[in-house]
Amino acid sequence: MNPLAGFSDWALALLPRMFFYPGGLAIVAALLLALFMPRHATDTTRRTLIHKTLRLVAHANIPGMACAWAALSILPLPGVSTLPFPVDRFTLVVVIAISLLFDFTVKGESNRDELWPNLAIVLALISPVASQRGLVLGTAEPDAVGYLAGAAVLSGLVGLFESVGYGWSRAARWLAWWGAGMAIGMVPGGMWGLLSLPAALALGWVAQRLGWSRYATLLAYLLALGALLTSLLLPPG
């Protein structure tokens, strides 16, 4: 293919994804998520909703947010036309992980514990490849490995919930992990998949209130390792 044609095809397919669905919708949802989620920090001053929104946007970590937004935009979710160039599981996971690294450039409110649930989700999302021939996203029905990895992703999201209130990019990354789980076929598709989002939010909120976020992260690691071990037992294919 002509390089310029390939580039323009990609750009044309990307733009509606970035600014409408799923990317555009997702970053607005992430903003709302960051806006209404409880925040540990010392921010106790009374502010209007508009002021809080402006503050979140003004203090956004641009590279971290941009990577999360890009990841949200390329998610192969239901109802979205396929991209002219395939995107594999590795690309999807690594872009969100880079967003995390960029967030670490900002010295701020305790983001040191944020690494662990993120890492558990990375492990969960990538572990099913152990029984596969390639990194591309499969179209097969989820199996035991998929269910275990999906449970690990959801558990990791519960553990990660604490960080959502700390910034727009973190909320976007939280959504991106959920979307990646759904796109990869670990979180069930259709209505069940959509229900998993409020379920993860509700469980995350409860875990945060009870101080159980670390247990959720630990569970995520156990499930992800379980998925990895199970996938090693399966014949490659």
């Binding site: 293919m1 390089p3 310029l4 044609a5 390939g6 580039f7 323009s8 990609w10 750009a11 990307l14 002021h51 929104t53 402006l54 503050r55 946007v57 003004a58 203090h59 956004a60 970590n61 641009i62 590279p63 947010m65 941009a66 937004w69 890009a70 935009s73 390329i74 991209l83 002219p84 160039f85 395939p86 594999d88 590795f90 690309t91 996971v93 690594v94 872009v95 690294l101 670490f104 450039t105 900002v106 701020g108 690494l115 993120n118 890492l119 990375v122 492990l123 990538i126 490849v129 152990a130 021939r133 390639g134 990194l135 591309v136 700390y166 910034g167 990019s169 990895l228 996938s231 090693l232």
Partner: protein, 459 residues
Amino acid sequence: MTGFNRTNPPTAGRHNATWTSAFLLLLALLQLALVPVLNGRDVELAPLFRVDSLGLLFGTAWTLTLATISIPLVRQSEVRMSGLFLGLIGVDLLVCAYAHNMVVLAVGWGMAGVGIWASQNVPGTCSKTNWAIFNAVGPAVIIAILAVATGFPIFAPPAGGVAEPWPAVAVMGGALVGAFTVSGGFRDGRERDKNEGANAPLTALYALIAPYILAKMLVTAPWHPVGAWLLVLFGMLTLLIGGYQAYVAYVSQEQQGHRPFSYALVGMALVGFGIAANSPLGAAGATWVMLVGLPWIVARWWRWAEIATLVAVVPGLWMLSQAALDTGYGVVAALLLPAYVLVAALTFFRRYETSLGWRWPVTLAVVLSLLAAALPQVVVEAMLKPAVRTMAGGVGALTTVGIEWGVGMLVRTAQGTVPAALPATGMGLAVFLAAVVLYWLKQLAGRATRQTGGDTQAE
């Protein structure tokens, strides 16, 4: 603290530093000039040297890196004639890069080790010990033993037919050389690493040449299957040791030296070379990792620069993951990315913050890293394919990588299926567009916040 300092650099070494850097830069440029002249051909200068694409790639990259770090190194050095030592180390690295046979490689490696030991040998420190000298020449001794044991092999593909595989013991010998080199053992250097002493970039460069012996061995012949398996295992262990070191430093709240990340890069390269005999993609990934580690040595002193170099590792990691799946190492493919994220994040989180004291090397490293991350197709086509072609004795041609110049690259099997696709340029475009929009949103929101009397504290 002995770290780099931009304010009041010592003037004594300034003159020396400029000449050293100019000499090394000249060496790098001479090698670059050879690329169009040779046009992919190999030139035998038996019995000492053999100029091929692999040697040209690493010879140029190493001398360029050394030229870049030599100015701050010489200026900050407490060692007399440190400029001369660095120039000699550059020459020694070239001897390694273009070694015709294992004996020449042993000589070059040993001289480079001694040069680094000598350049660290500051009066009053503990590097004047037998142990430090042993560590400096240790890898060379192992290479020499390996040379004797394997009948003084030359680094050239077999003239005809299929080469006899390297025995498993020889493969592990190569890995041992790598381990010896990356662990360094330079006690003085290790002590200084805690404070990121002035010689840390040099020991980091020395660590990153560690897997090169395996690349040279693959020029001659493939691995014995047991040796390949052991090499992959050894590589994963090295990567995990890097993760463990990074974790220990993180928990003890120490600042990270270069070692955890060097271990991770070398571990990944060992894995790649281990599976290279069965998947050329592994050799390409290992070569990539060894190359992009070099800008990291220069750029890791500044947080935004370091992150650019961390991102540049990703295409190499992608190649290694797919190569591991091609060769049936599923668990390796599943663990590579999480292990890398762990090491990169922990290294970055407890990073040593100081300034290199010279901006253009950092800028150059960042630009090269970002270009490599966003346009990996160029690197694969211009550098990796010729380098892998040189390893013809042990590695097949890199034909499975398909290049889509406008978007990225993919892996295409003989049956026409696509098991992996990395739209690096496409993703670079997406991130760029998002960053531009976010920048303007942020500016607008910041202005509005200030007008309403909000604070300006960063997120």
